[in-house]
């Protein structure tokens, strides 16, 4: 049978965007190794509700690592200790009985806190709206096979396109830069013939928007790549810079 574990959680609680936040300590006596990390938080919340207290707010949805809703800093690491794993797919078997775990929200100027562990990531939507698309109206497309794309380019574009927009890259970056997020979309589209006519405008507008949102610039720490649950390479950022330089020179 599954081993029961007693886990202590130190969780960031903050009533609202402007409220003073702080850590609260809770004990979850009946955690077990098969639980996911978010299921541990579910158990904690059931406990709190039964005690007449307010549950801890955290964003979550698909719980299979693809929607990008969840994301907390666990013991100082965005999404926790397991590489290439969003925290919804982190399981308690990686912890042991008696462990203490510290949980915090993403912290960045571009991601204001809404409540407890929930942050506002709409800045990411505005970065995409600034140019992260191909301008083609519905119905205006030619036959799909009339645009052959070398397999290597298509595969690499797919690697960049797997970004789930969770924001871990921002949370991990000492500059709170959104470079990996922004660059992943720019790099994906730079590899494809579709949308090539607007690539100059795309990179300029998206990079400008990123700055406007209060995200910092990249200084090559590569913390973003280390925590990215999809393992997106920082080579995307090099591509973004090259695209940007080309755009600047006209």
């Amino acid at each position: 049978m599954a081993h029961s574990m007693n886990i202590t959680l130190k969780v960031w609680r903050q009533a609202g965007p402007d409220a003073q936040g702080g850590f609260e300590t809770y004990s979850v006596p009946d955690a077990n190794e098969h639980m996911s990390f978010l299921e541990l938080l579910d158990v904690l919340n059931e406990q709190l509700i039964k005690e007449g207290k307010e549950p801890v707010e955290f964003d979550h949805d698909c719980r299979e690592g693809i929607c990008g809703s969840c994301g907390v800093v666990i013991d100082g690491v965005a999404h926790g200790p397991q590489q290439r794993t969003a925290c919804c797919q982190l399981h308690m078997r990686h912890y042991k009985d008696g462990d203490t775990i510290v949980i915090e929200p993403w912290r960045a100027e571009g991601f204001p806190i809404i409540k407890d562990l929930v942050v506002d990531r709409q800045a990411f939507d505005r970065i995409i709206a600034a140019g992260g698309y191909v301008s083609v109206n519905t119905g205006a497309a030619q036959d799909a096979n009339s645009i052959p794309i070398p397999k290597d380019d298509a595969d690499l574009a797919m690697d960049y396109a797997t970004c789930i927009g969770c924001g871990a890259c921002v949370a991990a970056c000492p500059n709170a830069s959104a470079s990996l997020f922004t660059a992943a979309k720019i790099a994906q589209l730079s590899l494809l013939p579709q949308g090539a006519p607007e690539r100059t405008m795309r990179v300029t507008n998206m990079v400008d928007q990123m700055a406007k949102e209060g995200f910092g610039d990249c200084s090559n720490h590569a913390e973003c790549e280390a925590v990215c649950p999809k393992g997106i390479s920082i080579s995307a950022i090099a591509t973004m810079r090259r695209e940007y330089m080309k755009a600047m020179r006209g």
Binding site: M1, K50, E64, G68, D120, A141, N145, A157
Partner: protein, 637 residues
Amino acid sequence: MSTVLDPKIPAGPLKEKWDNYKNTIKLVNPANKRKHTVLVVGTGLAGGSAAASLAELGYNVKSFCIQDSPRRAHSIAAQGGINAAKNYPNDGDTIWRLFYDTIKGGDYRSREANVYRLAQVSNNIIDQCVAQGVPFAREYGGLLDNRSFGGAQVSRTFYAKGQTGQQLLLGAYQAMSRQIGAGNIEMFSRREMLDLVVVDGKARGIITRNLVTGEYERHVGDAVLLCTGGYGNVYYLSTNAKNSNVTAAWRCHKRGAYFANPCYTQIHPTCIPVSGDYQSKLTLMSESLRNDGRVWVPKKQGDTRRPQDIPEEDRDYYLERKYPSFGNLVPRDVASRNAKMATDEGRGVGETGLAVYLDFKDSINRLGRDTIEARYGNLFEMYERITGENPYEVPMRIFPAVHYTMGGLWVDYELQSTVPGLFVLGEANFSDHGANRLGASALMQGLADGYFVIPYTLGNYIANQSLPDVSTDADAFGEAESAADARIQKLLSVNGNKTVMEFHRELGRIIWDQVGMSRTAGGLRQAIDQVSALKEEFWQNVCVPGEPTTYNKNLEFAGRVADFLELGELMARDALSREESCGGHFREEYQTPEGEALRNDDEFTHVSAWEHTASGHVLHKENLDFENVQLTTRSYK
């Protein structure tokens, strides 16, 4: 009074219906489109593609989603692929074949004209997505790659690794983002639709709640598009995302939209089993695994030996034994039902006894580990991440889980519900999959509805209506908002002893046991009583802490569970009234001597559409006329 519904199918031969329709509809003048506001609720494949397309056409679009970003809708989790009748592999595919496979796969309980249109526009979808930059898998020549999927003998499935839904959704999201940037779509994230506002018999607005501040908002429009997905979370455990819910659809139902075939639910055979009471959701493993995995359980009840210690002669490869010609590749409904039978007999495996083995040992011996890794590496990795077991060494444990709901709000050929001006797209409607959906068809339908159907049918509606200005001060808005607020206040004031999750789990258990893979009249009657009692208890004993004016997820869930409780009862009623077995709906009383589903075409070749009235639900029917295909019995022996 029970009535017969008219689906408004256009005249002419099947292959010409959609063209005839497009040739004869009224159009909205380009300069007039911006005077019309369209409210699009939900931003998955259906809602995202609809919002983008309508904004491109010039309509003034307002778009709503419950997540923090439109990019997170649950379409994103679809793995396998999207079907289209492109026939790029030259293996004999045609629009007719895609149509026929879909009708047959749905066990002859869907509407011919809709399914044919779906097959017709499938090719446009692939063109559109490629033009948007969706990175589909390609061959070395640079052209698109295809693979095969269940229920078809051709390779017509386009895919982007195991993340096809993600890439298609991001394509639609980016098309939306372009329109948001251009000011043609106003986006409202973290908003939940709590009611539909009907003025002079037409859908003219919605009430939303801002999930961050708790404020109610009134939105006026000339039409409402409901693209809010399926209701699989009524079972509590499903492969759906945690926030997927029926609330918006159920509110519309209570305002006059009929709910069709709620008992048609799809239970997917290959999911990672439940491991304990704390389990919050289930994870699907692609059905492609059944190409190389062999399903088995021990022959003896209660055999607790490790799988590797159970010799061949003590194993029962029950699918291969019972279905020698299809073996492990029987359709989803058949595979799921047989897994249930094996565990019901006490031959299930794992700690809970609610699982069967999916064993790759023979394939690894035959093909080598490298080949298996190339085919399924990412799935094996995901399995190991969740279970902590290495499927190269020990067989996977799998069990069926709720995955998709074919039922939904009734719509006619134009995707219009029984409330004029309320259109329903994607999984939220009932229209295209009959009693069982084939793999890689959900993505196709969502995008077909949004990109290629609604731009025409919505225009025809608007051009034919007189839509006088409506103010948010109208009585209907005030009444709907008060009702929504009264519910929220009531949920907060009960102050009982049971959590929302406890009620939801209990509801899920009842529905899973009685309205799941196998149903009986007795069990369904019992479920109706149990759910009704649970509903009563909910409103007297639920505990929802916190404030209505801050972010409060538990309060959101409470409202959704309240609606699931009502839906659960209707599902059982629908299942009870359908005295036949078809697709995902298996009634034990109606089976062949071999234990297979037995349809009753004489009495049940119809859609059951339920009207909500003050005195209960009233059943209406739409007769399904098959003019082009012959109804046959599906056999996989």
